[in-house]
Amino acid sequence: MSWEPLILTFKLALVTTLILFVVSLPLAHWLAYSKSRIKPVIETLVSMPLVLPPTVLGFYFLIAFSPNNSFGEWLQEVVGVQLVFSFPGLVLASLIYSLPFMVHPIQSGLAGVPGSLRDAAFVMGKSRFQTLIKVLLPTIKPSLLTGLVLSFAHTVGEFGVVLMIGGNIPGKTKVASIAIYDEVEALNYGTANFYSLILFGCTFFILLMVYLINGGYLKKLGR
């Protein structure tokens, strides 16, 4: 029994969520307001991880990043990163895998903001960026929170894609979900239960907080 898989899991989830947030803001903003003809294609691509088996994603990552082919070789030789069976590889795979969980809440949050708020900021001389930061994001705080938490929780819960691209290297890529599988295989039910219980408790608590905050229950308690 060791804390290592759990710490690795939360480290992966945290890094993934933070990078996703930065990447998803412009993407969701574009999806919410663009009238471009390629928008349906981009929307489809963003949503693909929702329906695709994680193993499919993992398989293609494995093929693409393997040092046995030219792209993977180039990455390793020139850029100096090995993406297969490494933590950066896990992060990259998780980014793709959890992308819709960050983009969708933000996109629908933005789409739900009355157009007049944006128009009002524009006629006041505010740029798109200022409008996003000062008006739109504060207005869709619940959507942001939902996006952050869902991405985090979803990354915590991923298994297939991690197994395919990360393998099972203790301290590097052996996250909690894989550790649980390992322990069950080895019939160590006690250890499996330890990891499972902690994941269960943590995810329950995180999601509960989202519903409490977005439902305004905490404010009511404060009064």
């Binding site: 009355p114 128009d119 009002a120 006629v123 006041m124 001389g125 740029s127 008006v135 504060p138």
Partner: protein
Amino acid sequence: MMQIRIQKNLEGPSGPMLLDLDLNIEKGQFLTLYGPSGAGKTSTLQMISGLMRPDHGTIYFDGQPWVDISKNIHIKPQLRKVGYVFQDYALFPNMTVKQNLVFALSKNSSSKSIMDIMDIMEIGNLQSRKPDTLSGGQRQRVAIARALVQQPQLLLLDEPFAALDLKIRLRLQDYLGEVHRTYGLTTILISHDIGEIHKLSNRVVSLEQGKIAKQGTPSEVFVGHNLSGKFKFKGEVLHIEKNEVVYIVSVLIHNEVVKVIAQGSEIENLEIGDAVMVASKAFNPIIYKIQ
């Protein structure tokens, strides 16, 4: 001051519609756009403010080209410095009243004007409240105040008082008339309220299906619109009842029911649901102020 010649294909309520306008607006004018919904009034404001791009045409403001599609000129709304009051107020929900006003302030202007404007609109006591705690009338005052903070030369208002009850509407009309004069604004208002139009504007442009149907002073445009001095209303017969030697006819006018005494010969071919004109000489009605 402003020359508008624009064309834009729009989706009207009854299919595609061409909005085709040719308007000259003088400085200091208070102009009202009037017409059925879907006639292109809001689109007109959006194209003047730069929020919508016309298909063809030009807009010149004080000799400056804001729009000249043939030369590919379309100045961004950010640079036009137009005050715009939206139908749904568009107050930023994450900011207090004061923060809403400060946000509208351009970079190098002083915040002193905010105090003056809050005084005029009487919203000083609301300054630390969030918009969702305000009543409709209060929100609308904040929205107008916020548009004024920008110190615009041109103020656009999209049916600002439509959702408010009569008493508050009348008071806000006074505020609007006052700021129009105080700040020497050129104002374009969208309104359906003929009383409001008479009270505030000195020019009315009536739009129908994207075209100017009529324009002129309110009295010129609304002649025959039951305001020519006669006491005359269209209504619908709700009920006819004989009472001794006369008949009492109940007529629905707008959403009020009035009763009219009539003779047998007058109701002979009158049925429930008929459209009727109720008229009296201007001498008979009694008028008094509603408190």
